[in-house]
């Protein structure tokens, strides 16, 4: 149906049994992304973002709730949802182009054909000339781009990006944001991004979800409403700044007062 969002997460709950105690990581999480939409999720550390992504990607199953793709229950979703992580996780023994075609190769596409497809995208990804290089010779930014190329080439309907630019410095990040938006617009994919960085969450997305601390649930949804294409000037404009203030406030409310959310609890992410 046209009205069905590309991906919908409904009432997803995740509880673990650990040392005889029940650990509740996610509690009744509801979120969705429409076809071609860019959605971001922010939340304090330890709120269960990675667990959520693991469930959506199919690595894990929810204790309650379900994941829907194109309106239908996505039972065997492992392999159908693109997942890019903070670590580039490029295979050190493969050169750039052979790393890029990994997804296609696993799908059964022949290597020559897969390589042909990859070659076309080398230039837009800023990797042309580096096809035969091994990952250890590349800079951090290039490795992330190569990892993203791998995700894109696998051509899944949805991309989950788990803090993919966390390891990059501010300058690199600004550049990569602009590049990413350009690529997204040309590809038209549905993207769900998880990040610590509020600027990044607002700049890239159409809507921002705020997650609470563990047990994680959605506490707030913000429509970004800024025009596209986004420009770096917008970062300092009043609309942007006020939204940022709102979201930061929401985040602070979710963290327990006086306690640094990063300290003192087991990371079940």
């Amino acid at each position: 149906m046209d009205s069905d969002p590309k991906i919908r997460i409904e009432g997803v709950t995740k509880r673990f049994l650990q040392n005889g105690r029940t650990l509740s990581v996610l509690e009744d999480v509801d979120l969705y992304a429409a076809d071609g939409e860019f959605v971001s999720i922010i939340g304090p550390s330890g709120c269960g973002k990675s667990t959520l992504f693991n469930i959506v990607a199919g690595l894990d199953e929810p204790t309650a709730g379900a994941v829907y793709l194109n309106g239908r229950l996505a039972d065997n979703r492992l392999g159908t949802i693109g997942y890019m992580q903070q670590k580039d996780l490029l295979l050190p023994w493969r050169n750039v182009i052979d790393n890029a075609i990994m997804g296609l190769e696993l799908q059964g596409v022949s290597r020559p054909e897969a390589r042909a497809r990859a070659v076309e995208l080398m230039e837009p990804f800023g990797l042309d000339g580096f096809e035969q290089e091994y990952p250890f010779t590349l800079s951090g930014g290039m490795r992330q781009r190569a990892s993203f190329l791998r995700t894109v080439l696998a051509d899944t309907e949805v991309f989950l990006l788990d803090e993919p630019f966390g390891a990059l410095d501010a300058l690199n990040r600004a550049q990569i944001h602009t590049w990413l938006l350009g690529l997204w617009e040309s590809l038209g994919k549905t993207i769900v991004l998880v990040t610590h960085d509020v600027d990044e969450a607002i700049f890239l997305a159409d809507r921002v979800y705020v997650m609470t601390e563990r047990p994680g649930r959605i506490s707030r949804i913000e429509n970004v409403g800024l025009p596209r294409p986004r420009t770096l000037e917008m970062l300092t404009q009043p609309a942007f700044v006020s939204m940022k203030a709102t979201l930061l406030q929401a985040l602070r409310e979710e963290s327990r007062p006086g306690l640094d959310p990063a300290v003192g609890r087991a990371q079940v992410d």
Partner: protein, 281 residues
């Protein structure tokens, strides 16, 4: 191509070769110096104290023997080398297959791994005579002894290598739809290569020992046999000559493995070099 281009090409090629050789020499120079010192001391000691040749031959005597009996020594050396190579290949093939099965199947691992761990403690010198009875005095017995000794380091290092993959990598590839088999062939096997190579280096060295042990028990040729026979004839310099050749054989094989390693896993060394150079900054 003009003569000038040819000339400049030749100069560059020989210059590059010269630098490569001199760098190699520079790398080996300290060890060479030590070896020379030891040989010099040995020679001096034998001469000064008039040590009998049948008790401890001087390096000069050993060298002369090696020159005089080069034909005989190389004949026996080739036999031993054959045993080493065939036995080692068996161990490599069997070891890789066994390690893979252990990594792929928990039940198999629990059943077989204890035997693998126990294998190096078995005194093969004493078991070898039994092998002699079962497999006869031909090449087969020696090859089996070599294979049994070389087997352990290969299996153990490869199992470690197969188990050493990043769990995040596994998760990622699973989200890309990788099957168990694809994970094994595309991730576990390639990432186990550096480990396997260190096991191979050990295996190659002990293969030489294994071949000699096999020959001691019952053989009509090979350097191990020659050592026993020469000892019975009080030709101690031949015993030492055999030892020198065996050491060279082990060393040469080790270097060869190193070269093959550099060729098959260039990313491993590049990665290590890059990491260490970054630390220096």
């Amino acid at each position: 191509m003009s003569l000038d281009t040819l000339k400049s090409g030749l100069i560059h090629w020989s210059a590059a070769g010269y630098f490569r050789v001199s760098r190699a020499v520079g790398q080996w120079f300290p060890s060479l110096l030590i070896v020379m010192a030891i040989l010099g001391f040995w020679e001096g000691y034998v001469r000064a104290f008039d040590v009998q040749r049948w008790l401890l031959p001087a390096p000069s005597v050993i060298a002369t023997t090696m020159g005089d009996r080069a034909g005989m020594l190389s004949e026996h050396a080739l036999v031993t080398l054959e045993e080493v190579l065939i036995g080692f290949s068996l161990a490599l093939f069997g070891g890789v297959v066994l390690a893979s099965t252990i990594a792929l199947s928990r039940t198999f691992e629990r059943a077989i791994y204890p035997f693998v761990i126990a294998s190096p403690t078995i005194p093969w010198l004493l078991v070898a005579p039994l092998l002699l009875i079962w497999f006869g005095p031909g090449l087969a017995t020696k090859i089996i002894v070599v294979a049994l000794i070389a087997f352990f380091p290969i299996v153990v290092t490869m199992v470690d290598g197969l188990r050493s993959i990043d769990p995040d990598l596994v998760s990622l590839l699973r989200t890309m739809g990788a099957s168990r088999w694809q994970l094994f062939t595309k991730v576990q096997l390639p990432s186990s290569l550096p480990f396997l190579f260190s096991g191979i280096k050990v295996a190659v060295a002990v293969s030489v020992i294994g071949a000699v042990v096999g020959e001691w028990v019952g053989s009509s040729e090979g350097l191990g046999y020659l050592m026993v026979r020469s000892k019975a004839q009080f030709l101690t310099e031949r015993v030492f000559a055999s030892i020198v050749i065996l050491a060279a054989m082990g060393f040469g094989l080790f270097l060869l493995v190193g070269l093959i390693e550099r060729w098959s896993i260039p990313w491993w060394h590049g990665q290590r070099r890059a990491r260490s150079s970054r630390q220096e900054l």
